[in-house]
């Protein structure tokens, strides 16, 4: 059932762009989790998990788990990927 219905095709394109357009796949170096990462700047990080990645991550499998706590090993893997130049910083095409 339709919810908030955009009136233009371009809005759907925007939705795809803003949610997925700048994601780069990063594999965790400690488990099989693969997440989408976006870096708009050195201090900004966006991490898109999937159900598969969440299931693969031992840190996320811990119970009870605080919602806000991220995975430090994934964090380190992302920082490593950024240092290695695998994740572009800034959207490049002007966001």
């Amino acid at each position: 059932m339709a919810s908030f219905v955009p009136t233009s095709e371009e809005t759907l394109a925007d939705q795809r762009l803003y949610t997925a357009g700048w994601l780069t796949s990063v594999s965790c170096q400690d488990c099989l989790a693969v997440v989408g990462v976006q870096k708009n700047s050195a201090h900004h990080t966006s991490i898109q998990w999937s159900a598969e990645a969440l299931a693969a991550c031992p840190e996320m499998g811990r119970r009870p788990r605080e919602l806000h706590a991220g995975c430090p090993r994934l964090q380190a893997s992302i920082e490593q990927a950024v240092r290695a130049g695998q994740v572009p910083i800034g959207a490049g095409d002007g966001f």
Partner: protein, 390 residues
């Protein structure tokens, strides 16, 4: 109407949904319904009746009797049932007609729309699902340890009807870092979001703007540092844990921010404040502090309301790199408006977002410093601002 790099961007106002969100909604403080009388609440484009039966159970039913449409909110609680003012049909908290005093028997089909209830943290919550599923108790907001005991003040509870805005405007605040500076007069120094499943959280640290303290109310007090964790449990109920550091005096505040959608472009905002009584303070002083914080956050909501009531709905917000994840938040929010079978994996997938507040705060601190310089130059005769403005 083709968009090129140079074409003017169109504002897509979209179409608001025809249905209301699935999830737990808050009717208000449970105590408000304990007077043995029926109460009307407007929500979901309808009128509901809330009452407490003699056995203590709460009933939330559609407001109109299924017999001939009498207004149950004008009825009377008789024992464990609510009696219709028109023909005295008696409805139970389970939505079934229990007796019709003038009839030999009650029709087997005599059942009305009923919403399952739970009292949580002193508030009456009820489950709404357009698909009619049984209440999902796993999705309830958590119990707040100590709240409702002598450790905390009583709830300060306010209700504000909002016309001309869909309630998603309120939800958008979860990711809106920059509005805390412009609308609430605070520097958000740290800002992070996590969405997962039916929960969406905002973590923020902020301090007030010294150039606005006198007229701001709300968050705009330079001596105030807030550490805030705010989580939506479903579409309509947020718990905001706040640590308020005022000149070194730290207070733990719990702010409930919840709403009832009333129509396609209206909702009823409700917020409640309780404060952990600081050690060494008597109850009266603690109540006074809680009242002050209720006023402060009340002012904050009114600052938002003014924006909402004058803005256009936008389906295609244009973002910059310093903005929060508006599209991802709305994707999360969408899950409550589609059938359970249609919930897409990415609506509920975990998503983390750390906003870089560095650039924004550099600019903002310069702007505030400039505002202060200008103000001092313009009115040297004026007394300096009082720190404790509210």
């Amino acid at each position: 109407m083709t968009a090129t790099d140079t074409a003017a961007r169109m504002l897509d106002r979209g179409v608001t949904p025809e249905r209301y969100a699935r999830g737990w909604h808050c009717a208000g403080l449970a105590d408000a319904f304990r007077d043995g009388k029926p109460h009307a609440i407007e929500t979901f484009g309808a009128k509901l009746v809330v009452f407490q039966a003699a056995n203590g159970e709460f009933g939330v039913l559609d407001g109109y009797c299924r017999h001939m449409g009498g207004d149950l909110t004008q009825g009377e609680v008789k024992g464990d049932e609510l009696a219709c003012p028109f023909h005295d049909w008696r409805w139970g908290t389970d939505g079934r007609c229990k007796q019709i005093p003038y009839a030999r028997r009650v029709p087997l089909r005599a059942r009305t729309q009923r919403y399952e209830t739970v009292v949580r943290n002193g508030q009456l919550l009820f489950w709404h699902d357009p698909e009619g599923s049984p209440a999902d108790h796993d999705l309830l907001p958590p119990e707040l340890p100590g709240v409702g005991t002598d450790e905390y003040t009583e709830w300060f509870w306010e209700t504000v009807p909002i016309k001309g805005s869909h309630c998603r405007e309120l939800i958008d605040n979860v990711v809106d870092m920059a509005h805390f500076y412009y609308v609430h007069f605070a520097f958000p120094t740290s800002f992070r979001n996590v969405f997962e499943g039916t929960r969406a959280t905002q973590f923020m640290e902020s301090k007030g703007r010294p150039d606005k303290a006198a007229d701001a109310g709300g968050y705009g007090d330079a001596d105030m540092v807030l550490t805030s964790e705010a989580t939506y449990y479903g579409p309509a109920y947020m718990i905001n844990w706040l640590e308020v550091d005022y000149k070194g005096f730290v207070t733990e505040v719990v702010l409930i921010n919840c709403h009832l959608p009333t129509g396609p472009d209206s909702f009823t905002l409700q917020y409640g404040i309780t404060v952990k009584k600081p050690e060494g303070l008597d109850d009266k002083t603690a109540q006074y502090i809680a009242k002050k914080y209720a006023e402060m956050f009340g002012t904050g909501f009114l600052q938002d309301v003014h924006i909402w009531q004058n803005k256009a709905p936008v389906q295609n917000p244009l973002l910059c790199e310093e903005d929060g994840p508006v599209y991802q938040l709305r994707r999360w929010y969408e899950q409550f408006y589609v059938d359970v079978a249609d919930i897409a994996p990415d609506m509920v997938a975990r998503f983390e977002f750390e906003v870089d507040t560095t650039k924004a705060n550099e600019f903002w601190h310069e702007e505030v410093a400039e505002n202060l310089r200008r103000r001092d130059a313009a009115s040297e005769a004026d007394a300096p601002l009082e720190g404790a403005g509210h």
